[in-house]
């Protein structure tokens, strides 16, 4: 109790200090000044200058909030997310628009590089955790459970939304074709879950066991499948609503293959490249990890690959083909993981749209219930069918509840893809509100699941 009070006091002091600093330091835009020889130059804007302090503040604040949450027997990453919500732009604007948020949108843009690096590191960790042996032993289980949960979620959410259109807000007013597309897109998005939350949670609780291993393997493969599903659904939606003048099927298939196979192949190549450097490297492993994460982000963004998949496959190749050399690397990744999680999840929390949540919470809650029920039913069926050991089979469904980054990106993509339709903004807001709920409560459920399954040791 004493520790909790002390932590809360320090957290409060930090918030006060940063608030005062922000209050007394006037924000300014980039300006043109003259030097002593009368030559012009651009001075950086305040938000760029202040990003270092914000980063430090996020790091300490999220870490301390994580500790407070741990004392309250809640997951640390929920603490990081909660801290992000608190300092993000949407929380303060619920009350007033006069006070500048601690983490404004522009600074989030400057911190984008850290989020990208975090995705690469999370991917490397996840890839390193998946062993060939596990896949060989349990490939059937992984694929079977994956198939069942995807079908269950797709069908339940689609049918649920379609049948409940009369009571579910804007859905009742849509023409049939548009309603079908909305149901399809929402149900595809519902199939996704967050590899980042799962990896962070496994790391936080140092979880080992069938639930952790199978949950991670299914989530990783699901990440690939969701991309395929989303592309197909977008294709159907575009054909239905925009008259079928979309890019040719050949182009879509080629691009999809390039995206998926390229991501996996590119990651494997990067993994092989990393192993050759690892042979020669004995020191400065953190710098190497950082450089490699930059490499993953660079390759992914320039070739339109998915960074998480590239990192996953690089980590997988390294840990399975060169286990001895890569041990040091994964040790350094582990060492970096805590600051990375603090920053990544706090920024994710800051992105939560509380205004949308306030407006659409009944509808969002309905969608949350539908998806949660579908995940539970699908996974319980799958785990019984593939004879997973108890108690893991009773709790493994909790691994597929959290949603975060990928789901957010999907929601944003839906809005931009169908931006000509009035419902696109409403749908996007609804999906964002749903993701916000899963983002906050998913980790709590997952923690409970891992503890009940007897796999948590941290």
């Amino acid at each position: 109790m004493k520790t909790l009070a002390r932590l809360l006091a320090v957290l409060l002091m930090l918030l006060l200090a940063i608030g005062l600093l922000r209050h007394f330091t006037p924000g300014y835009a980039s300006a043109r000044y003259l030097d002593a020889m009368d030559r012009p130059f651009s001075a950086p804007e305040y938000d760029l200058v202040a990003t270092t302090t914000t980063l430090a503040f996020i790091l300490v604040g999220a870490w301390l909030t994580g500790k407070v949450f741990k004392l309250l027997r809640l997951p640390r990453i929920t603490g990081y997310l909660a801290f992000g919500v608190l300092i993000g732009p949407s929380f303060i604007t619920l009350f007033t628009s006069d006070i500048r948020p601690i983490l404004p949108k522009l600074q989030m843009e400057h911190l984008r590089i850290f989020s990208s690096l975090a995705i690469a590191l999370i991917g490397l960790t996840a890839g390193g955790e998946i062993k060939v042996e596990l896949l060989r032993r349990g490939l059937g289980t992984v694929l079977g459970m994956l198939g069942i949960v995807i079908v269950a979620v797709l069908a339940t959410v689609f049918i649920g939304l379609y049948l409940g259109r009369g009571v579910l807000g804007f859905l009742g007013e849509l023409p049939r074709a548009e309603l079908l597309v909305v149901c399809l897109m929402a149900s595809v998005l519902a199939t996704s879950n967050s590899p980042a939350v799962l990896v962070a949670m496994l790391s936080e609780l140092r979880s080992r066991g069938p639930m952790s291993e199978t949950g991670l393997a299914v989530t990783v493969v699901k990440d690939l499948v969701v991309v395929v599903l989303f592309t197909i659904a977008s294709g159907i939606g575009v054909s239905l609503l925009l008259g079928g003048e979309a890019a040719s099927q050949g182009t879509i298939v080629r691009d999809l293959a390039w995206h998926l196979l390229g991501s996996v192949g590119g990651g494997a190549l990067l993994g092989a490249l990393m192993s050759t450097v690892l042979h020669r490297l004995s020191r400065h492993m953190l710098l190497f990890v950082l450089a490699m994460s930059l490499g993953i982000v660079l390759v992914s963004e320039s070739a339109h690959f998915e960074p998480l998949l590239v990192a996953l496959s690089a980590g997988f190749i390294l840990s399975n083909l060169w286990p001895e050399q890569s041990e040091k690397l994964f040790h350094s990744v582990e060492e970096l993981s805590l600051p990375v999680y603090c920053i990544f999840f706090a920024i994710a929390g800051a992105k939560i749209d509380l205004a949308a949540l306030r407006e659409l919470w009944p509808l969002a809650l309905a969608l949350v219930t539908l998806r949660s029920a579908a995940v539970w039913a699908g996974i319980t069926l799958g785990s019984h069918a593939f004879r997973m050991p108890t108690p893991a089979r009773n709790w493994i469904w909790t691994a597929f509840i959290p949603q975060a980054g990928v789901s957010l990106a999907l929601a944003t993509t839906i809005e931009s893809l169908f931006h000509d339709f009035a419902w696109s903004a409403s749908l996007s807001s609804l999906l964002l509100a749903t993701i916000a709920i899963f983002e906050c409560f998913g980790p709590i459920l997952l923690r409970l699941g891992l503890i009940k399954a007897g796999e948590a040791s941290g």
Binding site: T52, K67, V238, L242, A409
Partner: protein, 444 residues
């Protein structure tokens, strides 16, 4: 009804790159590429193969000062391959500020009370004299040259440029191995004195620079002037912050327990917080982080000592990264005034540094060689000068500051060559076996 609208290939690609959150654009990609290139180069420079390569004495002479990294940085920059440009680096300014904070912490952590007290009085006198000479001689020379070229004549406009050149002129490179003679007992002692003096001079230079750039302030319309109250307030805030940082750091480390990952979070946050707040207040991140380092190292405690080790572990990598950055930021169009300054500063180092060392250390009790190449060591510019130059550019990326950085780099590169050119000119006489020791007595 909605008009049928074709979806082009670009939009499909956008769907496929959903996990990338948004289309990064070529600008962001280039920044990633630039950072990757820099970190790979820093990694290569800390590799075993490079160490072996550096072990060669001739190589050590030219690489210990980071000049190869500066050159590579320059070749990668706007004037070379254009792979890494100053605009890209300024986009990642938070990372640069953090790096400057790291360097400041490294310098500050050397200022442990016991360690400072162990430095012989003669060395302290040497550093003090060196700083005074730099202020008077280099300050005077710079004022003389710049008086003809600066458009704005008010003294406030002069403070920052002269402040940089003066503080870059304080001290010398701590590396002595490439000069030889470290293995002889007397040479070893002299080398230790050179290194101790270099450390002390680095602290002096950063402190003086931090104070000097506090004095002029830029107002909202960009005019530079003096505002004593603003400067005093900033200084007070920095000192208070650095003092409380040690205490906060101690509390946070207590919370971290023995978990290494948690300690790592606290270390990074402490450096980022100190350098970030300093940057927001318009104070040098180097100076603020140095003060914080001084507080931490003097507060003691095993966990804060661990911080010391953590920060120092990355010393070489950070030094190489900043040498690369300096090369990228350098602008070779320094004009007549620049070359005049380079000549004046190099000549002043050549004329003053070595005699000043001999004169200051004349009272040393322990035997010192009468002639040694180590007496040429103070001619070589300190690496801290490069960090100061980069800090000035990061703070205010003006053409003048980039040119001043180039002047500092050129002075550094030329002063690196001086001891060798000098000893070659003297027919290697200085490397001959030393005669009798100057004096003998109790150890200092």
């Amino acid at each position: 009804m909605h008009a049928a609208m074709p979806i082009d290939q670009h939009q499909w690609r956008a769907v496929l790159s959903l996990a990338a959150e948004a289309d990064a654009g070529s600008g962001a990609l280039r920044i990633f590429a630039a950072m990757l290139v820099l970190s790979m180069l820093a990694l290569a420079a800390t590799s075993k193969s490079f160490y072996r390569f550096q072990r060669h004495r001739l190589m050590a002479r030219y690489m210990s000062g980071g000049w190869l990294a500066v050159l590579i940085g320059f070749l990668l920059g706007r004037w070379g391959a254009n792979v890494v440009t100053e605009d890209m680096l300024l986009e990642v300014r938070p990372a640069l500020t953090f790096g400057l904070g790291w360097i400041g912490a490294i310098i500050g952590l050397q200022a442990r009370g016991a360690l400072i007290r162990a430095v012989p009085t003669a060395v302290r006198r040497w550093v003090l004299l060196d700083a005074l000479v730099a202020i008077v001689l280099i300050g005077g020379l710079c004022a003389l040259v710049l008086a003809f070229f600066l458009v704005h004549r008010a003294p406030a406009w002069w403070m920052a440029p002269i402040g940089l050149l003066v503080t870059a002129g304080i001290g010398w490179a701590a590396e002595t191995r490439s000069l030889g003679e470290e293995r002889k007992a007397s040479g070893m002692h002299l080398a230790v004195l050179v290194q101790a003096g270099a450390g002390l001079a680095a602290i002096t230079a950063v402190a003086l620079h931090g104070l000097l750039i506090l004095i002029p302030t830029r107002n909202n319309i960009g005019e530079v002037g003096f505002s004593l109250s603003t400067s005093a307030l900033r200084l007070l805030a920095t000192v208070l912050l650095a003092s409380t940082m040690g205490i906060i750091g101690r509390f946070l480390l207590q919370q971290a327990g023995r978990e290494r990952r948690e300690m790592f979070v606290v270390y990074i946050a402490m450096i980022a917080l100190m350098s970030g707040i300093a940057s927001e207040l318009g104070v040098s991140p180097l100076f603020a982080a140095m003060l914080c380092g001084i507080v931490i190292t003097n507060l003691g405690g095993p966990k804060l000592r661990e911080f010391d080790r953590f920060v120092l572990r990355a010393e070489q990598t950070v030094a190489i990264l900043f040498a690369l950055l300096a090369g990228v930021f350098a602008d070779p169009r320094i004009g007549v005034w620049g070359w005049l300054l380079v000549a004046a500063l190099v000549l002043s180092r050549l004329a003053v540094k070595s005699p000043l060392m001999r004169w200051s250390l004349r009272g040393q009790h322990q035997a010192l060689p009468a002639a040694s190449p180590l007496y040429l060591a103070p001619m070589r510019q300190s690496l801290v000068a490069v960090a100061l130059g980069v800090a000035v550019v990061v703070d205010e990326p003006s053409p003048l500051n980039q040119e001043l950085l180039t002047v500092v780099l050129l002075v550094g590169a030329l002063s690196e060559l001086l001891p060798f050119a000098f000893s070659w000119w003297r027919g290697e006489s200085s490397t001959a076996p030393s005669p009798r020791p100057q004096s003998a007595g109790a150890p200092s």
